[in-house]
Amino acid sequence: MATIVVDVMLKPEILDPQGQAVGAALPRLGFTFAKSVRQGKRFEIEIDGEVTPAQLAEVSKAAETLLANPVIETFTVRVEN
């Protein structure tokens, strides 16, 4: 069994209100390390057996169609064992 991870982030030029809210909340709680925060989302997709290149390509296609909105987001696909 393997896990394919898809990380989705807003493109750098796109406004991220959630990340901003987290960034503003950190110093209020005493955490002063952050210059800025951007928030994304992560999908963990479990499959049976070893991951084939064809499966990865299919996941990429699904990410482009459903998991991410390519107009405003970027994504990466990788395998985690």
Partner: protein, 741 residues
Amino acid sequence: MALDTVAIAEKTPNQEQPFAALGLKNDEYQRIREILGRRPSSSELAMYSVMWSEHCSYKSSKVHLKQFGEKAPHSDALLVGIGENAGVVDVGQGYAVTFKIESHNHPSFIEPYQGAATGIGGIVRDILTMGARPIAVMDPLRFGRADAPDTRRVLPGIVAGIGGYGNCLGLPNIGGEILFDETYAGNPLVNALCVGVMRHDQIKLAKASGPGNLVVLFGAKTGGDGIGGVSVLASETFGSTGPAKRPSVQVGDPFTEKVLIECSLEIFAEDLVVGIQDLGGAGLSCATSELASGGSGGMQVALDTVPLRDPSLSPEEILMSESQERMCAIVEPGKIARFLEICKKWDVTVTVIGEVTDGDRLIITWHGEVIVDVPPRTVAHEGPVYNRPFSEPAYIARANAQVLDLPMPDESEIAAAIVKLMSSPNMADKSWVTSQFDKYVQGNTIQSQPEDSGMVRIDEKTHLGVAISTDANAPWSYLNPYEGAKLALAEAARNIATAGAKPLAVTNCLNFGSPEDPGVMWQFAETVRGLADGCLEMGLPVTGGNVSFYNQTGDVAILPTPVIGVLGVIQDVRSRTPMSFDRAGIDLYLLGETFADFAGSQWAYMHEQRGGQSPQADLQREMRLIELLLECQKLFVAAHDLSQGGLAATLSEMVLRNGIGAQIQLTQDLATALFSETPGRVVVAIDPKNSVALQEMSQKYQIVLTKIGVTGGESLTINNAVISLTALGDAFMSTFPKLFG
């Protein structure tokens, strides 16, 4: 890219500049060089290109739109007319109301959720900018065929975007329209209307006067949102250039906007601003040049002081950025401390970026170097004006000559025909959409969809209220744009009069194809002429509006779609008339006559026929009908306009609203009586004891009155045809969930 300053521009007159890529024509670029007496710096080029785009400069429409001023009827109600961010209307008791519609069509096609959401954000800021508290929004929408795959992508996204932004702001969405036609495939129309209320003495204008006064930017930080969005998105037709070349989408944050609204209203209440402007299309380029141009003309801005979300932005990009939730105010130095304090209280980022000068130049610097030095009027108000050629397109004669060949169901077929009509996407129940919008937040909504108009209370003690309806009949405008505009105006006015509100003023959002096509330009010219003539005849001033051109995919333009919004006032919202009856045993009357007006009707659309001749608007009769509706309001238990779908649709909507049936007797040919869309008709429900009074009124106002039936029962029965409310309701309610659920 190295910084291009005015000094460098003077020294390098022959440097090539990418004006064409920015949407400027060669002669426009030459004109900029003439105005400046040198080549523009790259920042100046960015400003001119975005401000001289069709979207900002109205360069193709200006010559026609001036009719709204020339033919303006005298109106005591108009406090602020065309030219400001939105018009302002006196509604009595010291209240002023401001309302406006804008389009956000192209951005909503590219990224439906954010496009529609920022459309709401933009129109709400326009209303706020006038000094008013926004109190409600409405959304007229049009999509490609309901069963087309792309409609399934854009419609849910757009609806969610409108709901997401509007609901977070706490603004009720009180109505609009949703219609489908294949010409909108690839070019959905997302129009957004906002209405706001203030006291007379709170009106604010966009002008920067008083040398020494400070230019203050407040709200969200500036990022790379929609750079070039205005000029590229709104001025060029979608064609072969793929998504990769499209500029980045603006993303809104309704919670920032909500804070900005409250912060601005507190600033207004303490009278801390001389002038104010929101940052929408063309961002800082637009706000600085319009404020300076509206005042004495001189302004100096240090662009490097603008707070940035993305520090890598170049000055050109900062000038063009369309980051949302930003405002620009002109503040006297003595009041700045309090201004900053209020912004701090609301946690709103605020920066003094410049000051008003006694010169007549807008000068923008970047770390001390002058990058823009222009006469602001040439940027904001004296852009190019085109008298584009227009001529009647060939299709008009062809379409008008066409004889419709439609099935005319008889009594045995009429029940099935009505069920089919009411389940068609254009006629079907829209609550799948409107239930995603908060209709009642703030607690002042009196009525909203599916009623004829949206109505909100503006004073909780006196119960003064305003009603608004937005309407367009694109199939009629396609056949006859002059009459189509008048008919849409009449319908919108009628839709607020049925509830008991007196029409006061008009706004419009004119959605058309490419103005470079003489046929489209003719549709536009005829529409404006019709609307201006209609407003003059009905005594309703146009308070402002918006033009959206280039709504086409390849060579196919959308149907000409002038969306007309009419606002009216009702003295006591508790007396309003609903669209449907709440009890059995009362009489139903039809006001107005029915002729065989099938051209442009839903019945014709369902049978894929676009031809024929649109009805002629009889505005004198429409005005008599409106007066009758207002004078007889106390007699009515219910009143409902007839429009798309004719009497069949009106009766179906009435019986289904409260689940009380009706027995109808019609003497005319059934198909004509039920499916014709002759304008200027209303069904009213009255207690039988008031029938004499209604007859007297119909004679006084010379409106034909016909008794058509009584209320009651579990069915809509027409002569001997029985349609059970269950069957009709199932057909009516299930279409949208089936398509989009």
